[in-house]
């Protein structure tokens, strides 16, 4: 096999992996802490994309420099993280922590349906385009092919996000406090941890990450109704492959899927559609809890 093709598969694969990771990581963070499989994640993604595209549109209309787009991406995600995060966590999730985990999934599914239509009410059905940041960065040539630099920055962003989260969870006190909260809320409270605050903060972080996924993709896609639905299923798959609640798991899962998919597209386009579910089924057969399974407490 020729070396160029391998290189192209690697680059394409990593770009797609970055996409998957950014889309999935917020989901895994929230699941890891709150034990809620948050379907509204898809709506966070959509909101992120819409707000960014909308703001970039306004920005461009105002004749401001294109570079501001990058600033808007992070601002949008941050605003949404706080606003949506607080609304959903305070308004919905906190009533569900004591209930069955399936109920929480369904409640967030319902909230997702509602949010989808809220997007429709705010932004209408017209698609939004915000290519400016992508055009700004130009392109480079790798292995005889042109790649846009914007997609390549996504790879960098992915590793930055993954590292920051991993460090935060494993090497900081906040991370260890989170572990305690994850394990047992009542005891955590008894140990002086403000669980309500911790939940709110993680949910805001998770929402921010979901919105960031959408915001960062806004410049390369057409932002239109329905983009959230596609994302949820993909994100679920990645998270399940990696082990639910595990950040390194989400990263490895995304990379495995991304590269396999790239190889499939180049070599056997027919199987592209099945790559992700095929990998998911395989992983689960051999490692039922995903690649990175959480530690369990003893039962008897």
């Amino acid at each position: 096999m020729d070396f160029e093709l391998l290189l192209v598969i690697l680059v394409d694969g990593l770009v797609y992996s970055s996409y998957l990771f950014l889309v999935a990581v917020g989901l895994t963070v929230i699941f890891g802490v709150q034990k809620v499989l948050n379907v509204t994640h898809g709506a966070f993604y959509a909101f992120g994309a819409y707000l960014t595209a909308y703001l970039i549109g306004l920005w461009a209309k105002g004749g401001l420099p294109d570079a501001g787009g990058f600033f808007l991406i992070f601002i949008s995600a941050a605003i949404l993280g706080v606003v949506l995060g607080v609304i959903i966590e305070r308004g919905l999730l906190r009533f569900l922590y004591d209930r069955d985990e399936h109920i929480a999934v369904l409640a967030t599914f319902a909230a997702f349906l509602v949010l989808e239509d809220v997007i429709l009410l705010i932004w209408g059905t017209d698609p939004y385009l915000a290519f400016q940041p992508m055009s700004l960065l130009g392109s480079s040539e790798i292995a005889g092919l042109v790649f846009d630099n914007y997609s390549l920055t996504m790879i960098v962003l992915t590793f930055v996000v993954a590292f920051v989260l991993w460090y935060g969870l494993n090497r900081t006190q906040f991370g260890k406090i989170l572990l305690a909260v994850i394990f047992d809320r009542e005891v955590s409270m008894a140990m002086g941890i403000n669980v309500t605050k911790v939940f709110l903060i993680t949910f805001i972080i998770g929402t921010f990450l979901g919105a960031l996924g959408g915001a960062y993709h806004a410049p390369i896609i057409s932002v239109q109704p329905g983009i959230g639905v596609e994302v949820i299923v993909l994100a679920f798959a990645v998270v399940v492959i990696g082990g639910m609640g595990s950040i390194p798991g989400a990263l490895i899962g995304a990379i495995v899927v991304g590269i396999s998919r790239a190889a499939a597209v180049h070599l056997f386009p027919e199987v592209e559609l099945f790559v992700i579910y095929g990998i998911m089924a395989l992983v689960l057969i051999f490692r039922p809890e995903g690649l990175f399974a959480p530690i369990k407490a003893r039962k008897i």
């Binding site: 499989l37 919905l92 009533f95 569900l96 209930r99 985990e101 399936h102 109920i103 999934v105 369904l106 409640a107 599914f109 319902a110 909230a111 997702f112 349906l113 509602v114 989808e116 239509d117 809220v118 429709l120 009410l121 059905t125 639905v229 299923v233 679920f236 798959a237 399940v240 639910m244 559609l273 099945f274 579910y277 095929g278 998911m280 089924a281 689960l284 057969i285 039922p288 809890e289 039962k299 008897i300």
Partner: protein, 332 residues
């Protein structure tokens, strides 16, 4: 034996008789709503069995779709009798559940739910992609015969309704009896404590497997009814994940208290959707989602909890009356 013929059994039987009587008066669009409710109700019973075990499937559209597609494929092969189609649909869905069961019985909680979804998505992918399976367009389903009989045009759908009502009735009674059997009571046992089940000498996984196959069979029945009712099968409305979501929605709406309630839940869902669609053509998701949220928040055990709520209130009132009486007696 009269433990089998309990209140629920008679309730279901009365329901069946009522439906058959109603059949004479229904307008055609209502009959269609009824047929679809019966179909989705069957699937939801399957989910109820799993739910009582503490398992929720976000992918039962897989078996539903298998049942439905079996009808279409068998018709291509020239089989056209409803009863044969039903048996085939159940068989294919059941076999699929049987094989997948070997893997899925190892999973619990959210993993079970998601893995089911993954499998349904794989089937969705195959159907949407394979041209010989109709791709996204799917297949049309022709009118069926009933044990060789082909009724007159205006009798066709009423007769179909009668059959569907019977299938649903048998499914519901069967499921109800099953839930009362030793194996059925194990639903609760497995949900509550698998370690204890193992140490009582039965494999929790095996118990789950049986339930999984049953729920697959029931979803197959639902799929067959749906395919014949609608006259068309396609992947988007038969196996895509929101379809599975609808089934779970119905299960929540109805509550897991009683198999009969499931059909009421399915009917309510069907009406809700029809009217949401009519009155808010582009905001119907908001209405459906909003109702689901309200149910989860305020009727945690579904419609069935209205009943228990009423009963509680009655009992409270009764208790109050009793104590008042007693107080009165004492005073006297």
């Amino acid at each position: 034996m009269n433990r089998l013929f309990d209140k629920t059994f008679w309730g279901l039987t009365i329901g069946l008789v009522g439906l058959l009587a109603l059949n004479f008066f229904l307008e055609e669009w209502m009959r269609s709503i009824g047929l679809q409710s019966l179909s989705r109700g069957c699937v939801a019973i399957g989910l109820l069995i799993l739910w009582r075990t503490g398992l929720v499937s976000f992918g039962h559209a897989l078996f539903f779709g298998f049942g439905a597609y079996t009808v279409a494929m068998m018709q291509i092969l020239g089989v056209n009798d409803l009863f044969v189609l039903l048996i085939c649909g159940m068989a294919t869905a059941g076999f699929l559940a049987f094989f997948l069961g070997f893997l899925l019985r190892k999973y619990r909680a959210i993993f079970f739910a998601l893995l089911n979804m993954a499998f349904s998505m794989i089937l969705y992918g195959v159907l949407a992609k394979a041209e010989w399976l109709g791709s996204t367009d799917g297949f049309g389903v022709k009118q069926v015969s009933f044990i060789g009989m082909t009724p007159a045009d205006d009798m066709y759908r009423p007769l179909l309704f009668v059959c569907a009502a019977f299938f649903a009735y048998i499914s519901a009674v069967g499921a109800h009896w099953y839930l009362k059997s030793t194996l059925g009571m194990m639903t609760m046992a497995v949900r509550e404590n698998e370690i204890r089940v193992e140490y009582l000498g039965y494999s929790a996984e095996k118990a789950i497997h049986v339930k999984y196959v049953l729920s697959g069979l029931l979803a197959g029945v639902g799929g067959v009814i749906m395919a014949v009712t609608v006259g068309h099968v396609d992947p988007d409305s038969m196996v895509y994940w929101p379809v599975s979501g609808d089934f779970v929605f119905i299960t929540i709406l109805a509550g897991t208290g009683n198999v009969g309630a499931t059909f009421i839940g399915a009917l309510v869902y069907e009406l809700l959707r029809t009217y949401a669609f009519e009155f808010a053509p582009h905001l119907w998701q908001l209405i459906l989602g909003g109702s689901l949220l309200l149910i989860i928040m305020f009727l945690p055990d579904g419609l069935w909890s209205i009943r228990s709520e009423l009963r509680n209130r009655r009992e409270l009132r009764q208790a109050k009356r009793d104590s008042d009486n007693r107080a009165a007696e004492v005073r006297r």
